[in-house]
Point group: D2
Chain length 290, copies 4
């Protein structure tokens, strides 16, 4: 398996000898650890590890490797997931009318910053079809009314299933998603909210930011849960504003922050650097070799 | 009045010829405009101006100048206030147990960054007396219980009055202030809240920030109004944090942001750069000559 | 001239009565001042003003207006330029192989954030032709060798002239531009340098940033002058990095900063908010009504 | 050794089984790993580890532990250092005339943010004696002229030696330090430079920043080496400025950045989170349990 890596995300209760035990397990299988990051939540005693392995010297099948880890992990109560570098994750983007986040994701995918495939773009409006066409990505327009919401969402999840989608990105998709949908893609739907959560949850955050007279505006990328804008935060950022900016200015200025924050969160997810723990995220750092 | 300046803060409804009219008024009095900043709130049609005048060539009394401006402003519905550079504003600092903001204000006053006098420090706890002593500032400890709150607040306002206090700074003062007190010092009490408002209003913001899993923490300096943490924001800032930081880390890291934000807000107020408009602030920029 | 505005950028030596004089001049012509910003450079005594006028009530021709201002300004030594809102500036983008800045400019132009036309894209490489095609912008590939440099640059300036280009944006164009070209477009060529100038002038800034072990990397947008990377800076920004990032990571992370900084600088220029003063820029703030 | 921790900083060439080997070594001694961070420099193949151990169950002496690690590390070419939590590092602060960094360090030490003792303050000027007195720290004034430089530096190093100083902090000490002094405290002298290095090395950075017209100013904390302002950078930060700020404004605004950056660097050093590698630093993150 030359040039193939595996990234394991691991969690369990902390105990003495854990690092030594886990790293030794992989060492004895003859595998080189390229990168190892860990974190212990002192409040809950939960231990988290991200391990990147070189599989060049793997002497048996991936399935075997996974079985052995399962066996090894049983007495420790180890939970884990693995991502292999020879699999390219498949991402669906859901949009409404605003194009900036969509463009940024498509460009970063094309430039190689986001290592994924984007087999389809879904929207409840026809407005952004031209962007999909520019990048030659299939575009499905599924308008939603109160009456058709359930039916259209069924179509969306069917399309996601047919296209073997691993990650759903809500790139300014202005529809609330049902809990059935969310359950299907638990911790695999990333939304961008155009405010610094928990400030300005819900609708019209820029107008409310203007009215409140804040001196910075922000954006928040988070996993979607049943509670609107309450899911685990992956990434946030802000930008300074002044009294001179009206709601429309804030909305325009905020666009840059939204797209930065969203693409950083998507990148972290695609690189298996995020573990959800209760309503918080552990986000391991990226960089060379990570 | 050599080397004396006046800063006028002016507001009225916007209308044609306003800039020309006002600047002409001062020009015809033979006064040089050193700096002139303005802002029109397009939503409400309200006009705001900050004007810095060189009074070297003032040929009559300040009182006269003020009377003439009042006369001139009547038909325009002009509201204005003035601050003369030969008057040094007097600031009282209220604290509880945390020393960082107090130290920062005292040091910046001593270094000349904050042009004011600090005739007294008030506290509901004795803990910070040593800081007051280090800087040779009178310290009054007025412990507050449910029963004594009214009485102690009366003592505080009396002390403020005796010392001719112009600005009250709540430098992590952990007591809610009564509306009577607030009315006395309307738009002259600045509080530092240890969160990025309107997120985490109220108590224990760092613990709640940790629990919510935010990726940045912040601080907000605002004028105190009857609604807790709802007053007009003067300045805000944030700092990036990660999952590795517990509530105590956030509290420690936040201290630096709190003191930066508070001292910038106090400086803006002392330099007459802030106008309150509904629940927002117009904060004119500082810098050379402003 | 309903719904038409004019933005005047004005400079002269500071003197008493200047604000009153200039604003009065326009008031007496019956024109409403929508926005007025000013700045005096205390070191050189130079005065700068940005004035936005509503031309709805203009009772004579623009030419007339300009002539009157020229007349008025003579005794004051006034230098000025004007931009009318009914003229859409024409921008040429020069690129080499990196697509991120080009995409960002094209998207922001299409979304209306950058109010300009982009009649052509020029490159010394064929790589980005597909981007130009996605946005239906004519693309000219003019490869440059040591021998053909002069000839190709002549072709470039000819194309710029034919297309009535007002502003040239070097969006990661990796060729040094001759001083003849620069003279033709003085203070009208904006370059993005991928470092926080004056640090890491010249080639390979990200590699050198890595080697120097800096903890932040940045980008700088500036007007191009004969001295490489020495022109007046319009906008800069930085992003935090750690030892974990190699040169390629820095280059990737830097891309986002580069495109933010470049598009902000281009926007400021297009909105007539920049005045060059010696080797510095006065950049007036934007926002509602500016 | 209840409640005692040890932090080991370890480096060697990377090889298979390193993490497993090292963590196993400590595990087999019966010691719990509280925190483990690592980094591999892909360019040089160098491996770095920070390991925090709980010594509660240490069954033999520290000296024994160290000998065993030395033995274990020989075949691996391991270099390491250790810091025990029951030893409080001793810090000397060198200053000239500016008080802000000195105040910030003293306050943060007193508040417990910087876990160290500060047995003495040294200066080439008498100006800051009052600050030392406020905090009851011995103050030594050692004025330096061209003639007395060598002699005074000898006195300084003698004082540092007498007081068993572990770390020397140059908190705006405006004297160049001789290479003999630097050799004595290799990677144990931290300086704050009032610019974003490598921009504006040397004298008068704020004036030069003004003249160059930069839109952000910064500060850099670095270990002192023989080459002025060329040593390994520990921490940097910047703050946004505009054309409105003159050199004095930049100097004043910069003070806040300087003190933030310096105290963060000193804190990282005191917590044994910094490893110098060639002219770069590996700075491991802090936070709960680190």
């Amino acid at each position: 398996m030359k040039d193939t890596n595996a990234v394991f995300l691991i969690r369990c209760m902390d105990k003495k000898g854990l690092v030594a035990g886990i790293t030794n397990f992989f060492y004895e299988l003859g595998l080189n650890i390229l990168n190892c990051q860990q974190y212990t939540d002192c409040m809950t005693g939960q231990y988290f590890m991200r391990l990147k392995l070189d599989l060049s010297d793997l002497a048996f099948s991936k399935k075997d490797l996974e079985n052995r880890l399962t066996e090894f992990g049983k007495p420790l109560g180890l939970e884990w997931s693995v991502h292999y570098s020879d699999y390219v994750p498949r991402v669906a983007i859901l949009v409404s009318k605003a194009s900036h986040c969509l463009y940024d994701l498509l460009v970063k995918q094309r430039e190689g910053t986001l290592k994924c495939e984007i087999p389809l773009i879904l929207s409840n409006h026809p407005d952004l079809e031209y962007v999909a066409e520019q990048f030659r990505v299939p575009f499905f327009c599924l308008p939603v009314t109160k009456e058709t919401k359930k039916e259209q969402e069924a179509k969306i999840t069917e399309l996601l299933s047919i296209h073997h989608i691993d990650l759903v990105v809500l790139a300014r998709y202005m529809q609330i998603i049902s809990s059935d949908f969310i359950d299907l893609y638990r911790n695999r739907i990333i939304n961008i909210h155009h405010a610094f959560l928990p400030a300005f949850q819900g609708a019209n955050p820029y107008l409310r930011a203007f009215q409140r007279g804040v001196k910075m505006i922000g954006a928040t990328a988070h996993y979607v849960t049943a509670d609107l804008d309450e899911g685990p935060i992956i990434e946030q950022d802000v930008v300074r504003v002044t009294h001179e900016y009206g709601p429309d200015d804030l909305s325009r200025i905020g666009r840059d922050v939204e797209m930065m924050v969203l693409s950083r969160a998507v990148k972290a997810h695609l690189e298996s650097r995020v573990i959800v723990h209760e309503n918080r995220t552990v986000v391991f750092t990226g960089g060379i070799g990570a």
